[in-house]
Symmetry: none
Subunit: 229 residues, 2 copies
DNA sequence: CATTTTTGGTTTATTTTTGGTCCATTTGAG
DNA sequence: CTCAAATGGACCAAAAATAAACCAAAAATG
């Protein structure tokens, strides 16, 4: 949201942008950042503002300011676990989902209960009303896959899918793709969701898993197509 | 509920939307949200309404309002990691590995490099000297599966396997089982590890995946057997 | 080595932005 | 109708951002 539209950037905004570039590895260890005066121009801000941002980053230990010399990336503080989640690429995400979700279908057949399936059913219904609202559709889509994981009654798997959900919502590429979803693609997704749910309800684990693979393959295609645009 | 496009949004609705964006991580910690006047326009509401929503969020601890400066996100999206990971049962763990590791074998064939396979090879060699030391064997076994994940070059998957590794080491049941590993079972594991590595080296993804499934099935049996004791 | 340029550090006066507040009016559900 | 919520506008004070000038030290130059 902060960076969503091109508004005037404040000190904290600039700090956030730089912080992100550092932890994403765009700015490497021991790299020198551009001079304050240059940063000021590139961000369209006054030098004093950039300066405030840099002092923030220094106090956080991201950066070291050497008077007369420059400002240097000194360390990315242990962001520990979530680092991998935040930096995951869309392709990594797809491969991971390919690993997990077909088997989740099988486990859903084994452990899922009526109420789980009913919840998924209502999510399907909601998605079918959203042919023209890609953003809302994507959100409900995430909820559907979450509900599917939930039906395995496997806390570990549910947690992993949740973590993955954070990637999906954070990733710019994915978010952009959501905006380019057309009605036809959404229709196809909806059909696949229905088929998966039906296969699970009729206790056909392998069929459900296979449709899920198709579904993910469809999504992967849409992803690479969006990437080429 | 959450209107897809055009619905009159009340203060509680706006609060809900923002709350969601915060816990989803779209709005990061320390991010400044847009000024009230801008939010008012983007949500199609009056400033007073947005203001009410923000005060709600502040009282909930999601956000900090600094007069003259802006409104800032102050909320660590629940680190549920310890919960789900620590409370996972051995059976949940096995199901999760069943989902992940066969596909990891396929990805290893696609993305793995010589050095990755050499590392796994040396781990195999070490395991083969540990027929009589179940504890040491289990540690190296974990390393092997970690190295296998590593060969996918997929940071997200590697991270997930790491998390799962924490379960394996923390779980009492699993640890006890390790103590009851006999030389014959270890020998069988070693053979399977070798077969998996060879299948990957010869670029046979499905064969590698299938042997991994066998391997996990073996482990699952050993688990249930230990449980009956 | 001496000199020039670059870079961060500091100060100041001024303008813009931002949340805080109040109030008369409109809207919408019970 | 009634009442609570939302609206839209105006104004305030604090905070932040700006713009311009000058300083000192590091780095680059010759």
């Amino acid at each position: 949201m902060t960076a969503s539209s091109e508004q005037k950037l404040g000190a904290t905004d600039i700090a956030a942008l730089l912080r992100r570039e550092i932890s994403k590895g765009i700015l490497h260890l021991h790299d020198r950042l551009p001079p304050e005066r240059v940063l000021a121009e590139t961000y369209g801000a006054a030098r004093g503002t950039v300066r405030k941002a840099l002092n923030l980053l220094e106090s956080e230990g991201f950066v070291e300011i050497r008077p007369g010399s420059g400002t240097y990336v000194v360390h990315m503080p242990a962001d520990t676990s979530s680092d991998a989640v935040e930096n995951a690429t869309p392709l990594e995400l797809m491969d991971t989902r390919f690993a997990l979700e077909p088997h989740i279908c099988r486990l859903s057949v084994l452990h899922g209960r009526r109420t789980d399936f009913d919840a998924m059913e209502s999510l399907c219904a909601r998605m079918e009303t959203l042919l023209d609202d890609p953003v809302a559709f994507s959100e409900v889509d995430s909820e559907f896959h979450r509900a599917l994981a939930n039906s395995t009654r496997n806390g570990l798997l549910i947690w992993i899918i949740d973590q993955i959900g954070h990637v999906r919502s954070q990733d710019d590429w994915t978010r952009m793709r959501h905006l380019t979803l057309d009605a036809m693609t959404i229709k196809q997704y909806n059909a696949q969701h229905r088929q998966i749910l039906n296969a699970i309800r009729t206790r056909e684990p392998e069929r459900a898993a296979n449709i899920m693979k198709e579904h993910l393959e469809t999504a992967r295609l849409s992803l690479t197509r969006a990437a080429e645009t």
